[in-house]
Symmetry: D2
Subunit: 379 residues, 4 copies
Amino acid sequence: MGMIGGGKDAFIGAVHRLAANMDGLIELSAGALSVHPEVAKESGKILFLPDERTYTSYEEMLQKESELPADQKIDFVTIVTPNFAHFAPAMMALEKGFNVVVEKPITLSLDEAKQLKAKVEETGLTLCLTHTYSGYPMVKQAKQMVADGELGAIRKIIVEYPQGWLSRLSEREGNAQAAWRTDPSKTGKSGSMGDIGTHAAHLAEYISGLKITKVCADLNIVVPDRAIDDDGNVLLKFDNGSNGVLIASQIAAGEENALKIKVYGEKGGLEWHQMEPNTLIVKWLDEPAQIFRTGSGYLSAIAKHNTRVPGGHPEGYLEAFANIYRNFALTISAKLNGEEPQPETLDFPTVEDGIRGMAFIENVVDSSKSDQKWHDYKI
Amino acid sequence: MGMIGGGKDAFIGAVHRLAANMDGLIELSAGALSVHPEVAKESGKILFLPDERTYTSYEEMLQKESELPADQKIDFVTIVTPNFAHFAPAMMALEKGFNVVVEKPITLSLDEAKQLKAKVEETGLTLCLTHTYSGYPMVKQAKQMVADGELGAIRKIIVEYPQGWLSRLSEREGNAQAAWRTDPSKTGKSGSMGDIGTHAAHLAEYISGLKITKVCADLNIVVPDRAIDDDGNVLLKFDNGSNGVLIASQIAAGEENALKIKVYGEKGGLEWHQMEPNTLIVKWLDEPAQIFRTGSGYLSAIAKHNTRVPGGHPEGYLEAFANIYRNFALTISAKLNGEEPQPETLDFPTVEDGIRGMAFIENVVDSSKSDQKWHDYKI
Amino acid sequence: MGMIGGGKDAFIGAVHRLAANMDGLIELSAGALSVHPEVAKESGKILFLPDERTYTSYEEMLQKESELPADQKIDFVTIVTPNFAHFAPAMMALEKGFNVVVEKPITLSLDEAKQLKAKVEETGLTLCLTHTYSGYPMVKQAKQMVADGELGAIRKIIVEYPQGWLSRLSEREGNAQAAWRTDPSKTGKSGSMGDIGTHAAHLAEYISGLKITKVCADLNIVVPDRAIDDDGNVLLKFDNGSNGVLIASQIAAGEENALKIKVYGEKGGLEWHQMEPNTLIVKWLDEPAQIFRTGSGYLSAIAKHNTRVPGGHPEGYLEAFANIYRNFALTISAKLNGEEPQPETLDFPTVEDGIRGMAFIENVVDSSKSDQKWHDYKI
Amino acid sequence: MGMIGGGKDAFIGAVHRLAANMDGLIELSAGALSVHPEVAKESGKILFLPDERTYTSYEEMLQKESELPADQKIDFVTIVTPNFAHFAPAMMALEKGFNVVVEKPITLSLDEAKQLKAKVEETGLTLCLTHTYSGYPMVKQAKQMVADGELGAIRKIIVEYPQGWLSRLSEREGNAQAAWRTDPSKTGKSGSMGDIGTHAAHLAEYISGLKITKVCADLNIVVPDRAIDDDGNVLLKFDNGSNGVLIASQIAAGEENALKIKVYGEKGGLEWHQMEPNTLIVKWLDEPAQIFRTGSGYLSAIAKHNTRVPGGHPEGYLEAFANIYRNFALTISAKLNGEEPQPETLDFPTVEDGIRGMAFIENVVDSSKSDQKWHDYKI
């Protein structure tokens, strides 16, 4: 693995490394960890990278690594830069023959995402998008139960993602995370919807197997003087005619990272909270609700495949993240060995999910500007 | 107390009696318990009513009771009939000089509600609307904390009210409750929004002290062949510029009566769940969240006034209901004695809340029919 | 109903009145509300008692009421005095032909309890002991499920009852409740075990249908200068050979009234928390745990009989208390009418439970003083 | 790192590898993964170990590795065999100059543990015992708050550890885990207390800073035909005079791994559940309880040191485990570099904790056999 971005003090780069390390399948071998050469070098040292593979630009890394013998060069790159710096290195990596892991949202625009998709198809390489929350075992279980028809046809989805960390104008108080995430030139067309709304939308579509077809959005700049939306509410219509609500807010004071989803079908409903991720509540019309728990013997095969420890030993965010890395790594390993990847290892977000994420952002932003109630999803 | 409606097998009439009984302040003395004379008579016997005060129509009851000496006649009537049968008896009761308790929604139309308001003002009598959920001690506490500015200016409100009991077409399966509540001629212009959306809207306005000024509504008939909406989502704007979301659904399979509200301000947020009503979670930007509990010494005076037992002894729905009756009873008792009611006893929903409830229904229905996103609240 | 004790400012007397009022079956008609005549009189006025039935001693009340015609006199007395003042009025009431409701613990000693039992048997009257927690619908459900063998043979019971209200030496700070409850001459041989341990023991035996046969107790005076135990832990053996633990503490700082029970059988376990009383968690060996909820259609008949409102409308402590009063009232009403009480109405604690409660106290106190590990239960 | 035990299909060995991998500080370089040579070899291949460092006995590994140059040989061994096979390899490893990580309980007997302690002191090497639960950030927070006196003097500790996985006689049904854990020759003198009771005892002492001085134990064989206790209850006395209860059961049907602890002091109490490990409830006498959450800014330095991701991103069992490995690795790394380890890295269980764990087992077993109530702790 070669990492682009994620130098010392970066948040998400460290998370990627922890997740990639976990299963002993992936080794950090190269890095272009910062646009500042001295930070790049220092970060490489901290991470025990050999000096000759501690690059000072992604272009250098991709070029030099591509020239190494096949058994020495990296198998894939991981791009953990701010949003505006996803597209160029991803495109170059694909062109140089590297598989790619990239943080969401995949690019700054839907158009860029489409270009990446074309390149993925052209090259036959694999691109993985880290919609982490779909990596949790109980999310897998939820998806499987819906797919198996246990809830009947889906009728309604409520997904909310409240955070409180932008309740103040932190971007003016030296918070680097806040600074780029509220700067439209770096984060893209939407703040709250790009950063967390895309996760919520992905989760709703992932679990339900449905696709959003219409939105009615209300994006807000709640904290005065902020440059981009920090809050938004979206009414949804799905392709089977069902309805939904998506709420994403970064000014929900006192909330940590409280992603929750409720899915209702004809026969029952299910509820999952990211902050207590090992519990899935399944509710029935005429019987007691059930508490499904990670690591239990009664779970579906796909949930078990994404679980590492026995029931009652909580799996967390890093394990969900590691599930995405593991499935990706097993997939590219199979392809490198000329084998067909196992179906369960193909269960990670791809460039298609990237396109849907960018479409979500653009459609929601367009809808929010419009006086018309319903906005047809354009992709 | 004289009861109109609420004969044997009725649901809400029994609830009213339990709540009214609780504090020993109110006695059921007369009833026009059913439009079917034999049911009315039988119900009266079951409830130990004297035969001569077991009436077979509300007109008869109001007429006969109004002719009794002041120290013998009922002080107020309670109207627990289906929605379409609220207005006429309420109006007649006021005209005959009786105070009134009436179930929500107050009438079938906003116009009727306005007529009742005019009559209340003309007569100087008291009308109480049983928005039960505002009777819980921790809802009082929440309202007080917002009023005291503890959360700072309010920025966002999310209120959801999912039920699952109309997930099937129960109105065709002999469920009498379902039958009238899904019949527009009996329930009014909206099903889900009239029945439970009004509770959610009242709760949001009650706790926050804000008023809804705009709505963007999506009402749905989810169960095929139903005659009225059984589900709806509404985006909200409040009079201080803040935003919100209101969800009311009766097809949320497996949900009981899961009213929940989250209110976020500049400095903190609060969360309350009706099904665990004695807990109020208050979240802060930089400090641990706090768990406020009914019956605790640190609560506000208004919360304590509405509490009967010590901390850790759960108060339930009937106690919340009884709080509304008790406050109403103490208020009319003071007025009967020529005294000024204590401020804390005036804390019950009135005809003004009835008007706001009807306005909510009508505005939401109008918005739902419109292609325009935002609908200005008309009252 | 005639009340003994429970004058203004008393806690448990008010609770009894609220519970007795609720169903409209019971009316407070007479009272000997305080040993202080002026308090007795003033309390009577507040409660709208006629002056001639506001007595200044229980002897007077029992004598005078016994002389009234059958259709005018009270049907039963409720004794809500401190523990030391239960026995004499209960005995006199039975002798005068009145049924009795009495707070727990039933008397100051096991011997007194046995005398009451003999008198109950002699007179054929009914004595009801208010072990309130057995009145909750989900406790009924738990008992039924165990009785039906759904958990298999019971293997282990853990019941804990932590409170924090005696964490300070409140009896020296003007707290009247604390004063008598920590005074051995008024409360009996044990503080924590008499006051709340008896509830925990009753709940364990009630749900499981088992009887405690051995105890190993460790009672403690944790707050210096207190006159009686305020904390205790007890190892248990039941009559089917299973084991258990009972913890009762009034110095568990920050706890309200956190009675919890877990019962484990061969096939599954169940868990109930008094502070969230409408939920019963049932856990299975190889299937998801289930959440049983008050008011649901799938519950047992006995749970439904003890429920007043539909699912999702929380029932609280007062409703549990009212269940005991209602069952008692229906039982004595049937007996007064010469009918056989319905089996479900006979489900309230009686003098037998009083004897087991006193035995619990005495055996635990004896065990605590002993160096021997296991103490055989003596009754 | 060289691993002893933990071949394919072993449970805890895999957990150790996941935890050791996480931070990129530790690499699996050698292994004696099974006593079956073919399993050892096959397991080494699966784990990408070089063939020449895939040993077929621990003796071989320790001998060969000790002969490698300092910059090539392993820095420490990890012993993840069943209990009976801890002592010999640990002793040999120390003698050969390797630091040691060992699963709990440290040995089969207290005497062996004392021999290991003497060897650790003699060699100056470091031994780490994986009492994982003390690695959770909120356990660190709890310990710090007690140490800072925030709860006042500790008065009572309740720790319970119910599991249900031995509810059947699984050791006769081909469950290898169950087989050795219920075989006294492999697991030691106690089943439930050795396997999970030691965790509970360690947690109680770790958080409170107190030491158990007396026990009164009731160990049970609940499932017929089992060879060792599968359940037990223990009354405790601590060295400051406070009391406690410890419950460990493996026949608590339907429980996963439900370790919970409550600690009460003069001023407040705290409660932590292993299955929701990122929440610490702190209860106060006269103020609302507080919810402390992993990753929050208001936490103590030691909690933050043991946290990897921001608030709201749940940390799980593997992260707690990794905290122990990381602290151990940083400590031995400092010592290898001739530096003083940072105080916060020294926060992992050592041979001293191993001795206390073995003492717990032996004292509890002795107490359980005795008719005397209190048994003085012997070490």
